[in-house]
Symmetry: C2
Subunit: 133 residues, 2 copies
């Protein structure tokens, strides 16, 4: 049980896009090279982010991806949900009412999600910027 590589790629891409001056677009070519990936595969990942509204894409010449204007407060959890989906880590198909086991597992997951929701990508971007200087 492990987060997929796609989630890793998505996080890196998001941070990179946040560091673009003026929120300009970056093509998948450049993003893929940066992470040593094939552009077509990364493209699939980024399409998920686009559909989730976290980034915006413009096709055609000089197109690419950029941070969504309406989503400058994107959290880690937002990215993870976009890539991994929103199903619970522990999903017993039976669902006995008042299940004690499920309660514990769900609560634990909520604790993790709480942390992930409180951490914004913009914080990481800022830290990364100040490190470079």
């Amino acid at each position: 049980m492990r987060y997929s590589n796609a989630t890793n790629y998505a996080l890196h891409t998001m941070v990179h896009l946040m560091l673009q001056p003026g929120g300009s677009s970056v093509g998948v070519q450049e993003l893929a090279e940066m992470q040593h990936l094939s552009p077509t595969y990364l493209s699939k990942v980024l399409t998920k982010l686009t559909k989730a509204g976290l980034i915006e894409s413009t096709p055609g010449a000089k197109g690419g991806y950029k941070i969504s204007r309406t989503k400058h407060e994107t959290s880690f959890l937002d990215v993870i949900h976009a890539i991994e989906g929103e199903t619970s880590l522990f999903d017993c198909s039976i669902h006995h009412q008042g299940c004690l086991i499920e309660n514990v597992m769900r609560q634990a997951e909520e604790n993790m999600k709480g942390e992930l929701a409180s951490k914004l990508l913009s914080d990481i971007a800022k830290e990364a910027e100040s490190k470079q200087k």
Copy 2:
């Protein structure tokens, strides 16, 4: 990304064993029927629990599995570690030093683990017992 079924089976079995009066042994046959599983498969799962020291097994006639004498404080996390292993949910193979992304992911996972470590199977067993009455 989901907890394996094996973890579910392991948790149910542990609770069931805790409810045995006097900590007596239960055969895999009975444990498997209870959960509608094949005995051989459940056996593999329980062997992991045995190796982790959470339960004790006795082969031969009238044998079976019982809660380990030395482990009456088993937590959810103990079971999960025994079945899923101890690898981190987010393991980037590169490990740049001072990686900001990894920090966040690790902290979030710790929050989940903290909750899972604080919940004991004996609590669940007690609750289940009082419900039956």
